[in-house]
């Protein structure tokens, strides 16, 4: 937390001051190297790569500068050792890795030892002459060691001082106060070369020595080309093995009599893979998947190969992916094409609770040759405000209150953070007291600055040599080795990344199928084809997909209702067309789907966009249109597609914009058409999917929808047990009730830790009771397994929960079945008596305990019991909060009846479930909110004016009375809200 100036700011300042080169020596890391190299290139500076080593074994910071490629590998090794707390960084170790490195130190002890051991050393005199540096200078002169003046700058200019102080306060978890400045050291900033010349004029030659030192460092960045994961060939070439296993897999997938189409495609893909040297990569990924299958108890794990890799038939045959690229016409060139220079990656989803095991397996097997990719966490607007507020000493409760209202905070072009916060609808009418204005002002300077290094959710690199010879490796908090670069850095260095990610829905599907089998129904996955099941298609077409992977969001459910098709092909298209900047195309798609007239913007697009109704839907459509109309090469068109997803795309897009316009003009495309097409391309801003990815996801969606349709209890139990869906537990429980399921209270006699579904009953799992420790849940299940509980006293004595846990169990109704007519208040008294008698002792007494007769305590009113149940469960098993509302609501329309009020103004009382903020074309904020009542779910639209007025009122899981107009579009019902009142 010392870097208040970005590498770019430092380079820019250095260029302004007339420097010809610059050395970036971050402390114990090379994380900023790629930014630094790009900035040096941009500002035409000579980069010098290095690092400042700070370690308990070193008596002063040691600066290492890289002379050549060997030195770079050595520096990576040295930093890796330094980051390993189990190892000591001594001179012998440095001696081993000294080649190609220059060591700068201000420690006479180190320098003397280094000189004797033949290290390439220089005395670091710092940025100004001091008494200490005078001694060092004399020693260097006497010993013949070069003495070098440095800048020791940590910030680019004086104006970053305040930011530096703030970063220090955040890093050290202290309070930021400019009033206490005199207690701190001021940061050193970069000054003009003449300043250093003048300062060091007493010691001639020390500034020139710095130039000489920089001249010796000729290394300008690593250049290893594409670094493929190694595959142990066992005598055969990787390509030959891949061919064999691909054909074997094809026979498994399609039968032994392979069609000509399949063979042709396989041959083509195998040739491209061979030519590009990717055979070993495929085999390594196949090994990972096979090992994951083997490690599961049933011998087959649930995986979903996704991303552009799903377009490969080879990957499909190797069982890395699940969607047939031939059947669904998936574009292989999106994944691999001969012109592609960057490494493609294969992404594989595993069930979320399996992912760590798979990663451990890979890291264990490949040892030093594998590490995870890091993620550089930067300060975003909300994090910056939160951290600055903490540094200002604001109470955490106050920070949380303000922070909750910043959920829609996004910085737009030309808008300051203060303006963005002021304009937030959720803060309308709320004046933030002092010092919030100062907090926000200072926080704006933090945005974009790196905060810490975290671990990428699943990115792994596997290298032929130990990873630490390509990039420094450190241990993450959770113990895995992690490289100091994020995925972009790894890509720059040519390290091929394999993404092994966790997916909750795969866990849901796995658990639901397992429950179905446990409940006595045979389930054959081999011939399971949910896409062809009419009932499942109806579920999808009606948008009844809450809980189903990727198609449960309100936007997706509404789109399915409007489309009303429910078929696989359309679902693939729909899951791709729903993206932030494509609202108008979604509407146009629905219109065309329902037979609205349309024609291609240009006849040449017929081949490309026929299956998507003339609209660009998939990522590859951008490339294909550019090839078809502007005459782009495949490589260039792929570059255009890639640049869309980059953060710093503005400049690079301008270049593509001109080329696209010129290409279209050359091909005789009208200017107006070209502009429309470009606008459509711009709708891919932010995230978007390629078709193979959408198809992979759509398959998982259909599997989930099938299980929900045919086995609702098992499916909903799996959704609730795996947690982490789009909606809250409350919403899923309501959905279960709408499916006709009976929600049974948690019960210490029959509940397991997870939810259970059977027939039309859903038993709440112990995990749903807030405040229960994992140990207690296990204790309950284990004790019950030994012998069922005979009464509540037996339960208390055998399980002995903590006070809060006992209260939670009682309030949730988990002890009602063994209460023997005692009410819940008396149960809690009984627990208190047991606790009082036993004290802190946890062992069972020798003789049965006789409790005195409890006092005649009454149970609270029914409403209070419900309130307590809601507090510990987050939902009500037998009722709905709306039915408990004190106020009687006259004339309210229920959600299920809304369709009959099309175009009319109605009152609707609903419980707020979730919301999605969006921006209009003019940049105004509006929100789509989902409410539910006891009859169903209703999607609502809050246009900007209404949203601004009521945003500060809206909190999740609260009852509101809405007034607005019912709108029905292609069968999908929404409410356009006019007024809101909290009930």
């Amino acid at each position: 937390m010392c870097g208040a100036s970005s590498p770019d700011a430092l380079c820019k300042r250095a260029k302004e001051l007339g420097y010809s080169g610059l050395a970036l020596t971050d402390r114990n890391t090379l994380s900023g190297m790629w930014d630094f190299l790009h900035s040096c290139k941009r500002h035409r500076l000579k980069p010098v790569i290095g690092a400042e080593l700070v370690h308990a074994d070193l008596d002063a910071p040691l600066v290492c500068l890289v002379k050549d490629a060997g030195g770079y590998a050595n520096l990576c090794n040295v930093i890796t050792v330094l980051k390993d707390s189990r190892k000591t960084l001594n001179l012998e170790y440095l001696q081993e890795f000294q080649n190609g490195l220059i060591f700068l130190s201000s420690s006479p002890v180190f320098l003397e030892a280094g000189r004797k051991n033949g290290l390439d050393i220089a005395a670091d005199l710092g940025c100004r002459p001091t008494a200490k540096s005078r001694l060092l200078y004399r020693w260097a002169k006497a010993s013949g060691v070069p003495a070098v003046a440095g800048t020791a700058a940590v910030i680019a200019g004086e104006n970053s001082r305040q930011l530096f102080a703030l970063l220090q306060a955040i890093g050290k978890k202290t309070v930021f106060s400019m009033a206490d400045r005199k207690n701190r050291e001021d940061p050193v900033f970069l000054e003009h070369p003449s300043v250093y010349e003048k300062r060091f004029s007493v010691w001639p030659g020390v500034t020139a020595a710095a130039d000489t030192l920089a001249g010796r460092c000729t290394f300008s960045g690593p250049d290893s080309g594409i670094v493929m994961p190694p595959w142990n060939n066992r005598g055969n070439t990787a390509s030959a093995v891949l061919r064999t296993v691909a054909y074997e897999g094809a026979c498994r997938r399609y039968g032994t009599d392979l069609s000509e189409v399949v063979v042709e495609r396989l041959e083509y893909e195998l040739q491209v893979i061979h030519d590009m040297g990717f055979s070993s990569y495929f085999l390594v990924v196949r090994d990972i998947v096979q090992r994951a299958h083997a490690s599961t108890s049933c011998g087959s794990s649930r995986i979903c190969g996704r991303g552009s890799g799903a377009a490969s038939l080879v990957a499909y045959c190797l069982q890395i992916t699940n969607v047939c690229p031939v059947k669904h016409n998936l574009y292989f060139e999106r994944f691999l094409n001969p012109g592609r220079t960057d490494p493609p990656d294969i992404d594989i989803d595993f069930a979320w609770d399996m992912r760590d095991g798979v990663l451990d397996q890979v890291l264990h097997e490949h040892g030093k040759h594998a590490a995870m990719v890091s993620t550089l966490i930067r300060f975003g607007p909300r994090m910056a405000i939160r951290e600055t507020a903490r540094a200002f000493g604001l109470a955490s409760g106050e920070i949380a209150r303000v922070s909750r209202r910043l959920s829609g905070l996004h910085l737009r072009k030309g808008k300051t953070l203060a303006t963005a916060v002021r304009d937030l609808p959720s803060l309308q009418g709320r004046e933030l007291p002092s010092p919030w204005a100062d907090v926000i002002d200072l926080a704006s300077q933090l945005i974009g600055i790196p905060r810490c290094l975290s671990v990428h959710p699943g990115g792994v690199v596997i290298t032929p040599d130990p990873v630490c010879s390509y990039v420094p490796v450190e241990r993450a908090v959770k113990g895995v080795p992690v490289i100091q670069w994020d995925k972009d850095g790894a890509e720059e260095a040519g390290l091929v990344k394999i993404d092994l990610l966790g997916n909750r829905s795969l866990g849901v599907i796995r658990d639901a199928i397992e429950s179905v089998r446990i409940n006595g129904t045979a389930f054959d996955e081999e011939y399971w084809n949910p896409e062809e099941d009419p009932k499942t298609r109806r579920t999808v077409a009606q948008g009844k997909t809450m809980g189903c992977f990727y198609i449960e969001s309100p936007a997706m459910r509404l789109l399915q209702q409007k489309a009303g098709t429910g078929d696989f092909e359309q679902l693939v298209l729909q899951s791709s067309i729903i993206r932030p900047a494509a609202n108008e195309f979604v509407r146009e798609y629905v219109r065309r789907l329902h037979g609205g007239k349309w024609q291609h913007l240009h006849p040449k697009l017929a081949e490309v966009l026929d299956e998507t109704f003339g609209l660009m839907v998939y990522q590859e459509d951008v490339s294909r249109v550019a090839v078809a109309l502007a005459g782009f090469s495949h490589v260039r068109a792929d570059g255009l597609r890639k640049v869309m997803s980059k953060k710093d795309k503005v400049l690079r897009l301008e270049h593509y914009r001109d080329a696209f316009a010129a290409g279209c003009a050359a091909n005789g495309v009208e200017k107006e058409t070209e502009e429309k097409l470009w606008q459509m391309m711009m709708s891919f801003d932010g995230y978007s999917f390629c078709k193979p990815h959408s198809a992979s996801y759509a398959r998982v969606s259909f599997q989930a929808a099938y299980l929900k349709t045919h086995y609702p209890a098992e499916f909903m139990a799996a959704v609730l047990s795996n947690q982490g869906g789009y909606y809250s537990t409350f919403a899923y429980v309501s959905e279960a009730k709408r499916l006709g399921l009976v929600i049974q209270h948690p019960c210490v006699q029959s509940s397991t830790i997870r939810w259970q579904g059977k027939g039309m009953c859903l038993r709440v799992g112990l995990m749903a009771v807030r405040g229960l420790s994992r140990e207690l849940m296990k204790r309950i299940v284990q004790s019950r397994g030994e012998k069922p509980f005979t009464c509540s006293l037996d339960f208390w004595q055998r399980v002995f929960p903590a006070r809060d846990e006992a209260k939670a169990l009682i309030d949730s109704g988990a002890l009602d079945t063994i209460a023997k007519r005692a009410n819940r208040t008396v149960l809690f008294w009984e627990f208190s008596q047991v606790r009082h008698l036993a004290g802190a002792r946890r062992s069972s007494p020798l003789f049965p305990v006789q409790l005195p007769v409890p006092p005649a305590l009454r149970d609270p009113a029914k409403k209070e019991l419900f309130r307590r149940e809601y507090r510990v469960l987050g939902f009500l098993c037998e009722s709905h909060p709306l039915l408990l509302c004190n106020k009687r609501i006259k004339g309210r329309i229920r959600a299920v009846d809304c369709a009959g009020y099309e175009g009319r103004s109605v009152s609707f009382a609903g419980w707020l479930l979730s919301g999605k903020l969006v921006s209009t074309k003019s940049g105004e904020v509006m929100e789509f909110l989902t409410f539910e009542d006891e009859s169903g779910v209703l999607e609502t639209t809050f246009f900007p004016r209404v949203y601004r007025r009521y945003a500060s009122l809206l909190m999740p899981e609260v009852l509101y009375l809405l007034q607005g107009t019912v709108e029905v579009e292609y069968g999908a019902v929404t409410l356009t809200v006019k007024t809101v009142r909290r009930l």
Binding site: V175, G393, A395, G397, E431, P435, P852
Partner: protein
């Protein structure tokens, strides 16, 4: 022990009542007293009307204003409230020397046991006092009469905002039984939550439990709860005495602060006040404690002590800063601080055979004595120690 007669006199919303004396137009209006110039002001006091709208003491002013938009906000005038409190005290002191007062909050307990022959029955005293305070000061206090401080306080709570309440001897349990537990003082928040868990709503429901039963959930506090639920309270009315065993100074920041320097600058005059008081009494303090109140409501106390004690401001400051270093460990702003000097000992008048004091300390002692003289003559702020 014979039956006692304790009067509880309470000028409700004391600060607002004093302000209304100054400005008649404030009557019937919602009033909030809070330091307006402070950036993050907190409510010091509020009128009954504002209370009804949800305003509470210690609430942030901006939140209070959202709850009661029509409220008129006034700056707190602590010296005026202190003066008014002193004036009320002056009115009651004629009846009994046993008067216990709160800080400037309008609460007074009077033990009038045994004054019957002098002033008549206790209820007459209370009546007279109320009329006297109203006539002489314009303040209309609520009063109550009971056999203990506890019951008289509950009775005042019942009577407010205007009126009186008398609880006869032996009627305490009967009086308390139907009342809500929220009116009973002395119950800790955790105990209150536990009572809710057992669905105990009224004082009578608590009183229905035996001591043995109460020990089940409340352990050591069972006897105390058992007594107060029946209106039994033997605590004495403690009049303010000079020469208590400790000296306390308090400072509330208008705006909560996070700068260490501001806090140390604030401590300096407080230390000077303590030092001056020690020298006036002829005492030395062996221990300095500091209690910091954070803006999130939490507080922390830490102490530093020295053998033999000291009345030297410079030495006391060292101790205070050491205590501060131990106390301020959290990353949260400070709302107020209390400096406590205790373990007081009389300063030895006897000279030591071999002087233990350094020359510097002797000089400091002489300087502090001179400062005390100046402050005594020209006011406590006439001369101060500076900080660099």
């Amino acid at each position: 022990m014979r039956d006692r007669s304790i009067i509880h006199l309470n000028v409700t919303d004391f600060a607002v009542a004093v302000e209304r004396l100054q400005d008649n137009s404030l009557r019937e209006k919602a009033v909030i007293v809070a330091p307006l110039q402070a950036a993050r002001a907190l409510v010091y006091d509020m009128s009954e009307e504002a209370y009804g709208d949800g305003v509470r003491k210690g609430m942030r002013l901006d939140i209070a204003m959202r709850r009661c938009r029509k409220a008129c906000v006034l700056m707190p005038e602590i010296s005026r409230y202190r003066q008014a409190m002193q004036a009320v005290l002056g009115q009651v002191c004629a009846y009994t020397p046993l008067v216990e007062r709160g800080e400037e909050d309008g609460h007074l307990f009077l033990d009038v046991t045994g004054t019957h022959r002098l002033f008549g029955p206790p209820q007459d005293i209370a009546w007279r006092l109320r009329k006297q305070v109203l006539a002489n000061l314009g303040l209309d206090p609520v009063w109550s009469l009971a056999s203990s401080k506890l019951v008289s306080k509950v009775a005042s709570r019942m009577a407010r905002p205007l009126g009186e309440c008398i609880v006869g001897h032996g009627e305490e349990a009967e009086f308390l039984a139907p009342l809500s537990l929220s009116l009973l003082p002395g119950i800790k928040p955790a105990e209150r939550r536990l009572m809710q868990d057992f669905n105990l709503r009224s004082i009578g429901e608590l009183a229905a439990l035996s001591r043995v039963q109460l020990r089940v959930p409340f352990q050591k506090r069972a006897d105390f709860l058992h007594d107060i639920s029946r209106g039994r309270d033997r605590s004495l009315v403690l009049p303010e005495r000079n020469g208590t065993s400790r000296i306390v100074c308090e400072y509330h920041f208008d705006t909560d602060i996070c700068e260490r320097r501001v806090l140390t600058d604030t401590l300096t005059p407080l230390i000077h006040d303590i030092g001056r008081e020690l020298r006036r009494r002829g005492h030395v303090g062996q221990r300095i404690g500091i209690r910091l109140f954070y803006s999130d409501g939490r507080s922390v106390v830490r102490q530093a002590s020295c053998r033999g004690g000291s009345d030297n401001d410079f030495r006391l400051r060292e101790l205070a800063l050491a205590a501060l270093n131990r106390a301020w460990q959290r990353r949260t702003r400070i709302r107020s601080c209390i400096l406590i000097c205790d373990r007081l000992l009389p300063r030895s008048r006897q000279q030591t055979l071999f002087s233990m004091q350094s020359k510097k300390e002797e000089q400091q002692g002489r300087m502090l004595a001179a400062m005390d003289t100046i402050c005594h003559r020209f006011g406590r702020n006439a001369v101060r120690l500076g900080t660099s």
